[in-house]
Symmetry: C2
Subunit: 159 residues, 2 copies
Amino acid sequence: MQMKTGVEQSVYAILILNMLPDKAVLPGEAISQQLGASPTYFQKLLRKLVSADLITSVPGVKGGFKLRKKPEDIRVYDIYLAIEGKQSLYSSSGVLHGMLDLEEENSCCLLTNLMEEAESSWKSVLKRETVASLYEEINESYPLKVQLLQEWIKEKMVL
Amino acid sequence: MQMKTGVEQSVYAILILNMLPDKAVLPGEAISQQLGASPTYFQKLLRKLVSADLITSVPGVKGGFKLRKKPEDIRVYDIYLAIEGKQSLYSSSGVLHGMLDLEEENSCCLLTNLMEEAESSWKSVLKRETVASLYEEINESYPLKVQLLQEWIKEKMVL
DNA sequence: ATAATAAGGATAATCATTATCCGCTTTAGT
DNA sequence: ACTAAAGCGGATAATGATTATCCTTATTAT
């Protein structure tokens, strides 16, 4: 039971896009290189972020990606959800049914309630932090490195 | 990102063992049949529960498994931990490092803190419920079915 | 001694995740 | 209009974790 690495990559990808000037756009390949991710698969991740309305894509020769929302309005949870999907961490396999030989009607499952509560507790923490607050943190911790990243972005961005 | 089905099976296995009279023991194969689980793989799960000191095993011709602790002292979390292991839900792949070209020293990772907090929030819910409370619930919901299960246990148990 | 059971290792089957490839569409620049 | 650079979407392969099976050994009641 491990979170997909795609979530981590997506969060940092969005942090990079957050540093992009307005109207500018960054090609997916540039981002994947900076993150050390597989370019082709990383494009699939970006697609999911687009589908989730977190970023927008511009096709064509000067195309690329940029944020769709303000960083304060993108929660880590949104990114998690975009990549992992809405499927819950636990899904009953009906073991209780077999064990007690239950009728179809009463399909309740002891564990399901508890697990749902646990999951929503987990999610609520992910909902607290936004891209804006992450960027603040990272900028306070490594202002110099962020500066360098800014310059790299200016090289690679288009428009 | 899905919890192993082994967690669900283990929880219900332990609920069955909880209904076992003192000194009695239940063969692993009987349990797996009742749960509709693969017998050989289910034995592996039982081994993990033994290693975690949640149940004890008795080898030999009248052998089987029984609870090691009182049901009030077995939390759902203990079972989860026994099966899933202590590995956390999120583990950083060092994407941030590559992105900012960080030195080894400052190996902190933005996301790791948040994810750890989320995970401990998730776990704290699993720590609330015990086998005893689960048994109460199930017995209140399906007293008749539990009765039937009791009888089945009396047939299958040994010692 | 035999039979039933757990223990443990090796290995296979299955499934989700990650990765690659290819053909298509869109658009800026010439 | 043509070309090149980018995103889009489908098919498919590679990888890795989970689940499942098999076989051999150890333990113990009869």
